[in-house]
Amino acid sequence: MHLLLMIGLVVFSIVSVLIHDLLKAAISLAAASIFLALIFFRMNAVYAGVFEVSVVAGLITVLFITAIALTRSDENVNESKYHLFIFPLFFAGLVIIDVLVMKNLLGRIPAISSPETGSFGDVLWKGRSFDLIGQIGVIFAGVLAVLALFRPKGKSAQGDKHE
């Protein structure tokens, strides 16, 4: 069952990379997110799964679709046709290297088990409080960045001065 979910995740990621139409690529990315969230649920990481579905499969997909709707391309961006040949080779090579490395190298890592931790609320709010301040900062930074980039241009903006 787990293997099926992982294959679904990888397949939908490949589809979102190779497909030409941007809208379908964004939706394929959302599908991959849902598979990833299901994998998280099966590993008992419920909070990560919920966050993954609501933020990545929800918010980021909406952002992508908004951006695709707000931009227009006068001519379609031509991707080379040889993607259909090169990618399977690349992917096959990747899988082979992956399997070899994982079996040999990582099999030798001894397992240290950690002490029992508290509930999720304790760990997030008390253990990682500094991260929460970072999250607040990065959210402000993103909001201010979008506001700064979309501000109405009053006088002529600096730039376009080349020698």
């Binding site: 253990g127 402000f140 930074a141 201010l144 960045a145 700064a148 980039l149 903006a157 730039g159 020698e163």
Partner: protein, 493 residues
Amino acid sequence: MIFLFIIIPLVLASLMPLLGKISKRFLPDLLANATMLFLLVFSVIYAKPLIAKGGIIQQAFWFGTPLNIRLLVDGFSLFMLFTISLVSLAVTLYSIDYMEHYGAKANYYALLLLMIAGMNGLVLATDLFNIYMFLEVAAVASYALVAFGLGHDELEASFKYLMLSAVASAFILLAITIIFALTGGVGFGAVAAGLKMLNIKYVVGFCSALFLMGFGLKAAIVPFHSWLPDAHPSAPAPISAMLSGVLIKVSGVYAMMRIFMNVFGLTPALTSVLSVLGIVSIFVGALAALGQNDIKRMLAYSSISQIGYVVLGFAIGTPLGILGGLFHLFNHALFKSLLFLNAGAVEQSTGTRSLDKMGGLAKRMPLTAATSAVASLSIAGIPPLNGFWSKLLIIIALVQAKMPVLAVLAVLGSVVTLWYYLVLQRNAFFGRLNETWKAVKEAPFWMSVSTVMLALLCIITGLLFPLIIRSWLQPATDVLSGGVGVALNFLGF
């Protein structure tokens, strides 16, 4: 309350858009500059005595109730806080006049304050993941600031910077994940203890390589430097000064050195790789700067070159080398910011960045020319200005560590640096006054205040360097040479 270093810029940044609606110019200017001045004074008066007996971990409070945040205050963190506050004060003073014709000053100050809060948070972190988190805060703010002018060049530079920086952050995060998988924790102490117990060379080497690629890109070390010559010239001049003066040092050099020296421990392989990258950066940066026509692009390549010196100093590993690297980091923050601010003043007055078109500006802009001359002489290593002492320390450390070839190469790099800075000074300021520039005016008041302040600091640091070394640099060097032992002291976090 070292926590104020992060909270004050963060809170002020969130209030800035509201303040901007009330008063477009005066209130944001005043508050931003007052904050920076306060933080600078605070770091000297309050924070310096805290580390008198060695590094501490300080608990943060919020109006009396203790938060579960512990901040690392030791010689290295404090030294970086001082440098960040100094350069930020100069930049905010300069921005009072320079950002007038960009508009949206409140938004600009908010992003700048967020970047400063991110850098301060990175410096005070006790945790690998906190470093990543605040790295991203500063990085997202910088993406928007580079693109602030909204012209085609700025947007293109900002996009390339964003792509490369996002990949670098992904590498850093991947390394943190692997370390988490190995040791089960992310705090400095837990990781150091876990790695000592485990003793798996290959995987730790792989993580070091990932960290080197990630932080190396943030610090613009060759071969990960390609974003810098595009991003720094296109940004507004005060932002170029911030990026080149502190951001590449804090998110690149500080994070890398903190992790390599205090958590992993400096191995011979790391030492040799870092020295090679340092020397290559010195030369690639210097030689590329020679052929540049755009003044800010030349300064950007020069940054790559000088960061090569800093990394080389750290890579030597001996206390003298680390001292030289730290001193050069501080000096470069001072004079590179000064050079970028001056280039911005020239660009604002003449409207061009091309060295061919400039000429003889010293007659019309004497203050800018004088401060630029001080900065150029400092960076080229002319005694008794500050650049000479820091480069001398690095070269002596190289000779002492039995690497004479590298010492000769470092001296050669310094000669090339002198050469292209003389070219810059001659083409821009001295020589005959170009007819087109007969009517240009000197830089406005606050911009001049900022540049004169930095130039005076260059001179004072050069003359009083034993005092600077004893009070600020020696504690930082002790922390770094302490090696993994420093992190093991903070076990339990």
